[in-house]
């Protein structure tokens, strides 16, 4: 059974059809790359999958349930988490709070318990503090727990965003240009991190990236879009040699 099944997905902004006829099947623990020229519609696809935009047509089926029309926070609770092309952290909050917020829907104590500090508050807060620290530890960021997020270097911010997405306990993780603004060395480390979380958390990953070293290096399958339409799909080797992809995207 597929984890995610997307059929005929499309959206138009005004007259512009940004995405059309998009389809993809993602199995549990897949690692798939989504590439294409600037303005091809990749980020828009992410926005459709996470409920930020309402598609004009198509179905998004997550483990047998059509999630089209669900609010972003509901979709997160059902198991799709994401990062953003331009980092969106809770800048003024501490690193650990950034992660704790993502545990929100996994916690149960009600508002009154929070306000009046009933035992359930103490119990859950303690648990979550522990869990958040463990997660940060996996990213070697535990020592930064009390740092304000905006003061982190860029690379750490990207990592924190991934950690935060993982805290929501997703089945599918969407990464939008995680290596943008990183140098090759940092990109290499990132590749390791992605590998690691995929196995550690046993999740599927769909990622957008312009860095071909990364995409070709770790993705098992690649989907190429241009003008909102899929122009190719296949293994890295197939994609590398596909003349359409070379013409539109890779060059040379």
């Amino acid at each position: 059974m597929s984890l995610l099944e997307v059929k005929d997905l499309g959206i138009a902004f005004g007259g512009l059809r940004a995405v059309g006829n998009f389809h993809i099947n993602i199995e549990p623990n897949d690692l798939i790359g989504l590439i294409g020229p600037n303005g091809a519609g990749k980020t828009t696809i992410f926005n459709l999958l996470t409920g930020v935009y309402l598609p004009t047509e198509g179905e998004i089926i997550l483990t047998n349930e059509n999630i089209v029309g669900k609010a972003p926070y509901q979709i997160v609770q059902k198991g799709i988490a994401r990062t953003f092309q331009n980092i969106r952290l809770f800048k003024e909050l501490s690193v650990i709070d950034n992660v704790k917020i993502a545990f929100h829907h996994k916690m149960n104590y009600p508002i009154l318990s929070g306000i009046f500090r009933f035992p359930s508050y103490w119990k859950e807060e303690k648990q979550i503090d522990k869990k958040a620290r463990q997660l940060l530890d996996l990213f070697q960021m535990e020592h930064l727990a009390n740092t304000t997020a905006k003061n982190l270097p860029y690379g750490q911010q990207r990592k924190l965003e991934i950690a935060r997405a993982l805290a929501t306990d997703p089945k599918l993780l969407l990464l939008d240009e995680p290596a943008a603004g990183m140098n090759p060395q940092e990109t290499k480390e990132l590749m390791e991190t992605i590998h690691f979380i995929r196995h550690q958390f046993n999740i599927a990953i769909l990622l957008i990236e312009h860095d071909m070293n990364l995409v070709m290096g770790i993705c098992e399958k690649i989907v190429v879009v241009d003008y909102g339409m899929i122009i190719a799909a296949g293994t890295p080797d197939e994609i590398k040699t596909n003349p359409k992809v070379i013409g539109a995207y890779l060059g040379e």
């Binding site: 294409g36 020229p37 600037n38 303005g39 092309q85 003061n151 270097p153 860029y154 690379g155 240009e177 943008a180 603004g181 990183m182 140098n183 090759p184 060395q185 940092e186 990109t187 290499k188 312009h210 071909m212 070293n213 539109a248 995207y249 890779l250 060059g251 040379e252």
Partner: protein, 233 residues
Amino acid sequence: MLTINNINVNYGSIRAIKDVSFQVHQGEIVTLIGANGAGKTTILHTISGLLRAQSGEIIFKDQTVSSTEPHQLLKMGMAHVPEGRRVFSQMSVLENLELGAYTRKNKKEIEENISKVFERFPRLKERKKQLAGTLSGGEQQMLAMGRALMSKPKLLLLDEPSMGLAPILVKEIFNIIQEINQTGTTILLVEQNAHMALSIAHRAYVLETGKIVMEGKAESLLGNEQVKKAYLG
């Protein structure tokens, strides 16, 4: 052309740039490379006057410009393509270019210049009426570059011009940088894509947590083991 002497730059109480000195000579392409947060952007901002150094000196065309306003620096011939493109998204492509020539008076020359930019970036010509905010990332990058060229700079500061671009566009952008340099513009280039940057630059400086740790000819740095390990992957 540009000399930086012992500048220190703070964000609040945090010192981001420590005692940095370097030069850019007439006609060169000089590149600054370094990890995330090393302070490359901070240095460019300080040079173009958007940030002020706590101490140290910046000399541009034999004049101390450490406290000169950015708009005056532009008149002196320095243009800066900032990180993240920063095009005026509610204005058309043409208006963006016109603003690039804000300080110039000669209408005819400006016209000529615009057609030159269009020649260099034919994509922009197709979209000259479009609002800049609706351009794709790559087109915005071209616009940012074209806009900076409109002031006919002697020195061009470029901050990560290839970020977020498709591979096909990355190559194009570096070609254009070389072309601009050949027509007489001196270039200070900041890049994450150290490989590309070093392959077009004459000289390079390596920045680590706010300090310059290495400098030299671009080719020699390209072959340097340390650099290879840290920045070329």
